[in-house]
Symmetry: C2
Subunit: 338 residues, 2 copies
């Protein structure tokens, strides 16, 4: 017995990863609709050995769908997710469109899976940089409440999409060949450069991406008093977001205790043996499911603080895998399908 799955944004970076993850985890599927813009309609994509034609997303795309995984941008989600929900599909939406909507659960399975029970047709998948941070911090927060987080991110270009991946590749080649690099996707050159600009700038001086890390963390962890200050930076890495996290707890926490807690927490792999240069980095995390944590140490600048380094595949756990995990849990709980 399987389910009827729709993927909206099937030809995009995360859409392609949805397919990989569904196949790899053998998600019970009776049918798959691949939906995208009219530009991509007609393309053929193979899913579980079956060649499937990409269709343009339309009002009647969701007639026979149990679960719809969206990753085609906030505008598409705003328009089509409610339509899909009206057609009795459960939507897991990877865009920012509904994340802060009080009626929409914002879910990281390792943290707040129970929130899926409150859905009204749409469940939101958090921002990639938030997901890996809360997976790493929530187990510690349960033992010793977190008061404040200062985080600096190193975000891969795949978070922007295929165009950005192409731009990094193209600019890199241009510069190695002694040519000038031209910026299209980002405000400035990204090859051999770092840019502290992700999403739009807000009046506060923070970017929307940085603001998401505050708001989404509070919502997912059910902790409205946590203070979060983020600096989000794009780096010339294809896949894998890294985060330098300074966290202040209510009481002191020893690195050894944090390591012990994280070793037995779901979705986490501790890589923290500096004597043998073992720590997480994006190249190592690419194509894996885990959130990697390393460089765990006492914050020498604050009595109740720890510093750590957290890396995950932003397309996998930061997007597609987290959404599929939500879908699996809907299946496990019998919350899905006719």
């Amino acid at each position: 017995m399987g389910y009827r799955v729709a993927i909206v944004g099937a030809t995009g970076m995360v859409g392609q990863e949805f397919i990989k993850v569904l196949e790899k985890r053998d998600f019970p599927m009776d049918s798959v609709s691949l939906l995208a813009s009219d530009r991509s309609a007609g393309k053929i994509i193979t899913v579980k050995g079956e060649a499937i034609e990409v269709k343009e997303t339309a009002y009647d795309s969701f007639n026979d769908v149990d679960i719809a995984l969206f990753s085609a941008g906030a505008d598409i989600s705003r328009h089509f997710a409610p339509i899909a929900a009206q057609h009795k599909a459960i939507v897991v939406d990877n865009s920012a469109a509904f994340r802060m909507d009080p009626k929409v659960p914002l879910v990281v399975p390792e943290v707040n899976i129970e929130d899926i029970t409150k859905h009204k047709g749409i469940i939101a998948n958090p921002n990639c940089s938030t997901i890996q941070m809360v997976v790493a911090l929530y187990p510690l927060h349960q033992v010793n409440p977190i008061k404040r987080i200062v985080v600096t991110t190193f975000q891969a270009v795949s978070g922007t999409g295929i165009n950005a991946v192409d731009e990094l590749r193209t600019q890199t080649r241009q510069l190695l060949d002694g040519q000038k690099a031209v910026a299209h996707v980002y405000s400035h050159q990204i090859a051999f450069n770092v840019l502290p600009e992700i999403d739009v700038f807000l009046d506060s001086g923070y970017t929307k991406e940085e603001w998401k890390m505050l708001e989404e963390t509070r919502k997912i962890m059910h902790a409205d008093n946590i203070q979060v200050s983020a600096t989000c930076v794009r780096v010339p890495v294809f896949t894998g977001h890294s985060e330098a996290i300074t966290v202040e707890f209510e009481r002191p926490m020893e690195p050894e205790q944090a390591r012990d807690i994280l070793l037995r927490s779901p979705g986490i792999k501790v890589l923290d043996e500096t004597a043998v240069k073992l720590y997480p980095h994006p190249w190592l995390a690419t194509g894996t499911d885990e959130v990697f944590v390393g460089r765990i140490r006492k914050d020498i600048s604050s009595p109740n603080g720890l510093v750590m380094w957290v890396v995950a595949d932003n397309v996998r756990k930061g997007a597609a895998l987290n959404a599929v995990q939500i879908a699996e849990e809907l299946v496990n709980r019998g919350m899905i399908g006719g």
Copy 2:
């Protein structure tokens, strides 16, 4: 009237930059000795139109030298800087060998130039990531004392040296051509990757580079109570270190006030107009003298905090320029030469 200058490590990354900066700033030179390892001896380098042969650094290299600029690693400095000083040369040393020696001034001209008066033959040039941070923070500290700094760095490979620049270029080409990249200089691949490892790991879990940012900041700013926690990360950038800095003052400070202070502070260029995507980035800072500051905003996680983004050319202001500025000040004060 000019001075007799020696450059130790003349064929290295910083050595080459010493020559450029001395030429550009028209430092008054009567003669230049270019010193290096025996491997580089015999090379010819042109300084101010004159072809000069590189000599191996030896005991008698400093007989007729007024000022010796060292950048050949801590071992060479430990061995030859005292010899140069014995020969009445004033040493400006770019290595870590003497920085924390209480008898050796550690100087950033924009911050503590008066400390040069206390030298006993050797003046130390701080670590690159420390220099740009204290240039940006000291003017604020004078108005509103800083209590704590949390900093995450994005450090270019040129900070490691020419081998690392070659390694980034080689690995990048290998990966673009579909080959595997092999790591020689760093513990792991640096191309399209980021590595939270700069210098050796200490028992505290911090690296020595991170520890330097604490100790050197305190010594340069004469502020033993400042708390500093750093995470130092190598990024696939050729030149230009970037830093995400969260700073806590004794009292609140508005971003506008910080901007005003920095606008009239030496060595700083404020680039902070997010509406037109104006902020510092390494590509823009390469080959320039200034410390660039942008993204200045209230720290939403702390009442007396500011967050900012600081970028500088690590080979220029982070090393060669800072040393030459010290030499210029020795000249201006008549502290140099026979």
